[in-house]
Symmetry: C2
Subunit: 343 residues, 2 copies
Amino acid sequence: MWDGGLAQAGGPPGLTAWPPRPNVTAMESVRVFAPATVGNVICGFDVLGLALEQPGDEVIARRSGGVGVIITAIRGDEGRLPLDPGRNVAGVAASAVVARCGLASEGIDLEIRKGLPLAAGMGGSAASAVAAAVATDALLGSKLDKPTLLACALEGERVAAGEGHPDNAAPCLYGGIALSRPGNPIDVIQLPVPSSLAVALVHPPHETLTERGRAVLPERVALHTAVAQMADVSAFVSALHAGDMDLLGRTLVDRLAEPVRRFLVPGFEAVREAALAVNALGAGISGSGPSMFALCRTLEDARSAASAMAGAFAAAGLEGADCHVSTVASEGAQILADPEHVP
Amino acid sequence: MWDGGLAQAGGPPGLTAWPPRPNVTAMESVRVFAPATVGNVICGFDVLGLALEQPGDEVIARRSGGVGVIITAIRGDEGRLPLDPGRNVAGVAASAVVARCGLASEGIDLEIRKGLPLAAGMGGSAASAVAAAVATDALLGSKLDKPTLLACALEGERVAAGEGHPDNAAPCLYGGIALSRPGNPIDVIQLPVPSSLAVALVHPPHETLTERGRAVLPERVALHTAVAQMADVSAFVSALHAGDMDLLGRTLVDRLAEPVRRFLVPGFEAVREAALAVNALGAGISGSGPSMFALCRTLEDARSAASAMAGAFAAAGLEGADCHVSTVASEGAQILADPEHVP
């Protein structure tokens, strides 16, 4: 087994630091992990997102003798995702990287290992797109900067969602809590994260297509609604900078998506109340759902919240929700040292 | 002449520190200065405001032998403001304070000294309301906290504007750059201000009634417009915390009020461009105009911006604009040591 290039170049076993070494040119394959993300974070519709430590997707990119990007295998999707690289978020993201590197004739094989469920609101398509973009770029000599990698990942996401919103892809690539503002390239601002802040992410056995989650949104909102939401998302950012957890909790209100998306999530109100009853700072829909999440003061609180939320989902008829408890990940997508080792 | 109570109690001459001493009960009169404010600060429509050091309004509150609030004199308004305390922002704010102190039969005389022009977009009605609220409360023994004083000032502002928006009154009372989020009482968050940040505020000889400035606003906005504005106001807050002036400049975009209010300000585009041409971080309409302001990296830059903006107003037919150049005031409304001295 090839031992990974990065490890040969002196890197530690396990995860290596971002950015990948730019002068590693002999790589034959690169394996990248990209984490689950919570889009919107309640008060920041389409603007905020945060990364978890785990779970996530992996993409292995290998040099091939052929031309262009080919998807050789997808694991963990039960055969539901397209192998056609032009219709697969990872394939499109990888092709965008190849094109931006000016290496259109390069042959790249992609293997996708879905650790994230489909249509769950956990940022699965962003994770595959980001992992593919980072892996392909590393394989080609790490020529692209993060804003360009984000643009490539968003090209991929457009295949899945019709639109490329950065609220999942930005934290997936950068880690932490990311604020994306309009710009070309998109202006990603990494916000400070109080060290104890923890996330409970609960995925019930139910699916919400991203298109459906977007179709229910209003095209226009009342000016006073927009103003109130501007106040809360700004105050959330201030609370993160100041480490003011009480203020943070007060800002976790969504007047834009939640009023319509709550009807796509069975048990929404009970799940939210269950989290708040055990001391969560706030709770709401992750992305377009049906997963729900809670922000908590500590990991211990997050464990309690996850358990309470899963119980509330069960009471609403959705037994067996998956619970993920994590601090906010300080790193986003990461190159793994051993590209061929499957744990 | 009575020397002011606060000075008797050991305070320094000149301005005294906020909060006023709560146990000074022998006061016969209190004089309060409240500064000009810039509402909206471009990216934070109805949410953000900032206070200048100067100019401002003053209100003197005196105990009277009568019952209730009476306005004895208004200086500097050319006879345009109502003496009827039920129709005057200062009168209503003072009455609200008297009522909240549970002293409904107390007799208070108010004298108002307008340092701020009317219908200028410089927060003049907020300044009179805040000064009256603070002066009346101090006269009655400083019983009220700041959130309550703000609520009283907003009751006053409703008389002038029909609605009580906190974007002027909050920074006028608290100082600095204030973010107001929905709540009862309103949640005022004081944002950190980079020490060199300076403001050029230019008031052309033209008036815009606040009602007119509000009447032109749309009732609804596109969701994607609201989202973009949420991103910019949040990023502005992050830039203040991080002291990132480049990011601050990028966030100074208004998609909500400026597209319609610009037509109420003769020369808007030229004035804005004139400020940007001399290195301003951003420039826009102050409140509902017609005053315009620029945020600048230094006082020196702000002086250049003010001069350039006044020149552009002149070229647009508005000769003789008043220029105010100031750092952002760290203090808001302040009790002056000598209530009877008129400088």
